[in-house]
Subunit: 193 residues, 4 copies
């Protein structure tokens, strides 16, 4: 399996660094190869083409989000607590890897539509897990019975995403993880008194 070979991960990690430091459009394959310490051609032994590197970056790293979330779902806690832990996990992973945060929140969005559609397909798994939390909460009667799952999911994800992007754009100058509580409260209770 190619994904288990050391060079595969080496190139993925190099790509994240190069993209974070140079920006999406200034991240030539040769630059990634140099950062990874391999020849240009070696890249093509592990990836079909440049797009494939980018997809794989996303795939590999999204796995962390999804895997963590799956663990959370197994815990014997309320849906509300699960939501809390999900937000916290999302913030923690990105706060602990700013290069990755820059890449996912800013750079990868400059890719063309075709690539973004593929990225969305990967994201879908993650969002489906979020749906599970929401459904569970409704069944528990923790969450409003009348809530539209799709809209709720869009609010939760949109809020997390916008919050993270703002944090990156403000050059990480405040504590992202520290916002978990407030974000969680907002999503649960809204802004009204």
């Amino acid at each position: 399996m190619k994904k288990d070979k050391p060079k595969y991960k080496q190139i993925i990690d190099a790509a994240i660094i190069v993209i974070a430091e140079n920006g999406y459009h200034q991240s030539q394959v040769s630059k990634i190869a140099k950062q990874a310490g391999v020849a240009d051609g070696t890249i093509y032994l592990y990836f079909k083409n440049k797009e494939d590197i980018l997809i794989s970056v996303f795939e590999e790293k999204m796995e962390v989000f999804a895997d963590n979330l799956k663990e959370i779902l197994k815990e014997n806690i309320s849906a509300s607590d699960k939501l809390y832990k999900m937000i916290e996990n999302h913030f923690k992973v990105l706060a602990s890897n700013r290069h990755l945060a820059t890449v996912t929140q800013l750079e990868l969005r400059q890719s063309n539509l075709a690539l973004r559609l593929r990225i969305n397909a990967i994201l879908k798994n993650y969002l489906t897990l979020l749906d599970t939390i929401l459904k569970e909460g409704i069944e528990n009667e923790e969450f409003e019975n009348s809530v539209d799952i799709r809209l709720a999911r869009q609010m939760v994800f949109g809020t997390i995403d916008e919050t993270t992007t703002s944090w990156v754009m403000n050059e990480y100058k405040y504590d992202l993880v520290g916002l978990t509580e407030k974000v969680h409260r907002l999503l649960l209770k809204g802004i009204t008194t």
Copy 2:
């Protein structure tokens, strides 16, 4: 004033059509010129460079959102109702101009970081007006006193934006404006019972 000359608007409108139909990366200056019915060189009599066209597209069209919102703010209604009208306005403008929706939600995001930062600067005006609603609501005691304005703004904008993007990606196949009520309720009351 260049902006008042007919060719200025002619080129802006051509740009929206070309980008919506061909995608960001397939929207060459020559294609925009052709759609606008002018020579390639003529573009440069009205715009400094290609980036300037795109900025101007955003500027011109964001004005509609901001202008409408300013009107709403003048009305003698509750902060909650203002928020409702803001969401409705946002959805209405984009639902009535699908080309524009595709361009702002999908295509323009493929632009480079520099351009996106400038776009964000334009967006800021709009978000500042949103802040005004939130502050007013807090003063009125309609909204929670403890609410973090920045987070609340990110939730409101993140939710609206994510909802709209999903609608575009789903090829406009449901009624966006019809979601206003539900979105408004979610933002105000959250998802809890």
Copy 3:
């Protein structure tokens, strides 16, 4: 019409020189552009791609052969004399333009199959004119009634082509046009006593 613009012919002529002097595989577009005294990009205002340059070289120059041959066919002379003049014309055109001779006899044959098929399609016109001479000769009873036109055409063209290629490979060191008489005699009478 692009073909009538001076730069079109300028690029064609440059291509012949570059290919003759550097060989097919060492004739980069940039080299042709430099020889033609234009920018690389200018090439693409006149030709669809590199292959199109090569096709056009052949097309433009084959026209000379075919046009001359059409003139010969109009003359009021025997089929045998027409054949003589055709061979002479073929030899004269190539002997007077060694760059062109090198390109058609050696370099262009290294092109890929697709290109060679297109070149053959152009050649077909020329060979059809040759068929006309052969048919006329048979009707006149100058040529054997039993002669298979296709085979005769292949012999005539194969012999002319092989003779010319040998002359090029021997670095033009003998007089090609001077061979006309002998080649003509061989084709007419064969090698027997």
Copy 4:
């Protein structure tokens, strides 16, 4: 001797198949290795480089033509009959191995000039044997005393080659060997009555 080891022939045969099926420019060393059932590196234990494989393909297979022709020359028959048998042999060998015919008539000609010059050197042996037939015929007074040997050789070879190439390009759709008699007659008697 390397040439006697089984892998040598194995690779030669693999090369013919791969080139015939994929075309010259799509016949990578790795593809030939795979077809031969050896590792890429193994190729280089038997051949100096890629060009050497191709030269060897030609060398090995031309031997059949030359060996057969040498047998014919030993026979106690007229020069004219020897020429007949030579043509027949040429057609038979290629008609019975269409892969080889495609490779020699179409694909190998796309090689670079250096390779083609080396191929011509191999061909020279064959053509020298042809010269022997022609000289014998002149001494016998079967063939015209005044015939220019080089030109006659070029006519014979040019005609055979052109005929074979046409047959390949026409996808072998007629009987090549069946043309022997007519080709022989044309070469001996020409096209005149």
